[in-house]
Point group: C2
């Protein structure tokens, strides 16, 4: 079992990672809320509940109320939040209610947001069930929903009381989802943990087979990176931006393909490769280092290919939420395991780097 | 001009009250944001904009973008928030956007909530145009929207950068809205400011005619009460509850009449009278004091009558958002100008007090 603390000015809590954690939920909730009354409400999707409700309920004498959200990014909308809030209100949920987000990043983000705004804020706990949710989205307090105009444009910072990640649940996760999530772990290695990077190089088969020891190691190491970064910069005024390595072009790829063709992690994989090309040009990494990193990204593929011109992708980066009054921040690796933030990446540089990534994509997916 | 500070752990800002303030908006925004870039977006209703846009725009070289919300409590919903957020996104609003809530409490609450959740939080300024918004809703950072299941069940704490209250705009406010809003000023006097209470006794005609000197005095004194209470208890863990004097039964009256028949302040007026009846029974006020307070409430009427049984109203108080795991808090005046919070008011006490208020209503509105 790994217990990794997140310490921010607004909240301190632990991320616990272990096999079999689901069966111990209720006593953990009691410990978290020492004496304070709480009424649990689970938010999950029918699929996940079908697979894991038995383990989830094992420690509850009285089964908690369960609210369902259909699976899929397209339900990450204000209408779902309103609908769930209405269900809470009808069930008599008050300020002593405690939400349990039991699902992937969509359920986690939306439930966190619901907890942030229901009666101006109630408690919640993250019980993430995808690799991406365990290593990334459940940690750091970013919650939200999508608008027609763009992803995550609506949201709040609202930290969970705890993140309880049971690696067993990854056993039922589709392989493509696992692989896509692992791109965020590779990212964590690239930006801040050379050891994690090497571990993922050396143990790719075991990790991709979700072997308990290997996957738990990777989840814990990835969580440590995110927890550490978030603890040092809660509100993304500086350091936290490094978590966006690979995401500038990654988000553009998602937008260009209407968020339908690629999983987020896949888009980040391609985006990371493009960013590495910029880094080589800037000499913040050597060509050999870039090659190693690119190879690891592809090793955890195949990443779905897509159709978009470099120009289109670069145009789409202009709308990145990280921009402030037009200034573009860009995260580059400094060797393997460190980063730097630059603000003067030109459109020409981005274009060339993206073009090179697209060429690689055409070669590798022929 | 009165400048009244609000100082909470999460924000410090001023409420400025003066005639002619609207014409000085732009330089005030610049001063508030010293050097930091900002792009203003006004949120208002067509009616208010029709009446006051000339004054509003007087200090702007380039007119700001204006987003419209139709007037009325029924538009205080998530769908409106989403719609406005979508308009912001389409207009390219980023984290440097600054919202200006120009309207009554509905516009203020909804715009504050929009600012709280757009890109996880952007700046905003309150420019309240109703008496209720100037003395109450614009101050303290409570923002939100209604659900079908109940009012203000969704929301955030998010403070404005400033509250800029121009008392001139009250000149176009319907008389019923002015009177209803003044019930919150009477409340402020009852719970914390005996001088305000006396001033309102002595100057009722001038205040009800919205004479500049009198109305500005009342607005400033009421704001002082709210600002002071909020500064001492931002998140309603204790003291802030006293602002709910008259609101337990008041909210029940609103619910019983589907929020359609009475203005909020009118319901609070009746609710205050019921609470005073409890207070007499508990001897926290003398019958003579209760009479004085009841008289002042009625003097700022007529309060619209309504149909509901005492039992119905008392049943509805059980759903009060202030309840936590079933414990009911109740605010009673202690003489005129002070309060105490009690947690053991029985249903029988509430019933008798409400019955007495209903009898008074039937007499006074025959
Ligand atoms: N808050 C943050 O900091 C943050 C960070 C990164 C991503 N995100 C968000 O996370 C979301 C993506 O999350 P995701 O990748 O987990 O996608 P997801 O939540 O859509 O889950 C992917 C799919 O896997 C299914 N699933 C989940 N757990 C399963 C299990 N154990 N067994 C079988 N099937 C399972 C889901 O039903 C879904 O169909 C995006 O909305 C993104 O914006 C948020
Ligand atoms: N946030 C808080 O702490 C808090 C406190 C109290 C009340 N509230 C909220 O405030 C809302 C009620 O606010 P309200 O009473 O201002 O109602 P409102 O915003 O609906 O305004 C009342 C009416 O007056 C019109 N109007 C506004 N200004 C005008 C002007 N200068 N001239 C002419 N017409 C004008 C409006 O268009 C509307 O029709 C409720 O939703 C309530 O929940 C919030
Ligand atoms: Zn990501
Ligand atoms: Zn009120």
């Amino acid at each position: 079992m790994s217990v990794i603390p997140v310490k921010t000015p607004s909240a301190t809590y632990d991320v616990t990672i272990a096999s079999g954690l689901l069966r111990t939920l209720r006593p953990r909730l009691e410990k978290l809320n020492q004496g304070k009354p709480f009424v649990p409400f689970v938010v999950t999707s029918p699929e996940i509940w079908g697979l894991w409700s038995e383990q989830f309920l094992a420690s509850f004498k009285e089964p908690p109320a369960v609210l369902f959200l259909p699976a899929g990014e397209r339900y990450k909308r204000m209408a779902s939040v309103e609908d769930l809030a209405q269900q809470l209100a009808e069930a008599g949920a008050d300020r002593d209610s405690l939400l349990i987000a039991f699902g992937g990043g969509v359920i986690g983000d939306l439930t966190g947001f619901l907890a942030a705004i229901y009666m101006r804020g109630i408690r919640y706990v993250q019980v993430p069930t995808t690799l991406l949710a365990q290593v990334d989205s459940s940690i750091g307090g970013k919650t939200g929903a999508n608008l027609a105009a763009g992803k995550n444009l609506i949201g709040s910072f609202h930290h969970p009381q705890a993140v309880l990640a049971d690696t067993d649940v990854l056993g039922t996760l589709p392989a493509t989802e696992l692989r896509a999530g692992l791109q965020e772990s590779i990212k964590a290695g690239i930006i801040r943990d050379a050891k994690l990077f090497s571990y993922m190089e050396k143990n790719a088969s075991a990790i991709l087979a979700a072997e308990p020891k290997a996957i738990t190691h990777v989840v814990a190491a990835s969580v440590r990176v995110k927890a550490d970064v978030v603890s040092k910069d809660e509100k993304e005024s500086g350091l936290r931006m490094i978590l966006n390595f690979g995401h500038t072009i990654g988000h553009a790829i998602e937008a260009a393909t209407n968020y339908k063709q690629l999983l987020h992690g896949e888009a980040v994989g391609w985006g990371s490769i493009a960013a590495l090309n910029v880094a080589v040009g800037r000499k913040t990494v050597t060509p050999a280092q870039a090659e190693r990193m690119t190879n690891l990204i592809l090793r955890y593929g195949p990443l779905s290919p897509f159709k978009a011109t470099a120009q289109k992708l670069v145009d789409l980066t202009a709308r990145d939420k990280k921009n402030r009054s037009g200034v573009r921040s860009f995260i580059l690796p400094k060797g393997i395991g460190a980063t730097q933030i630059v603000r003067d990446v030109t459109e020409a540089e981005l274009l060339a780097a993206t073009e090179k990534m697209l060429t690689l994509m055409r070669q590798s997916t022929r």
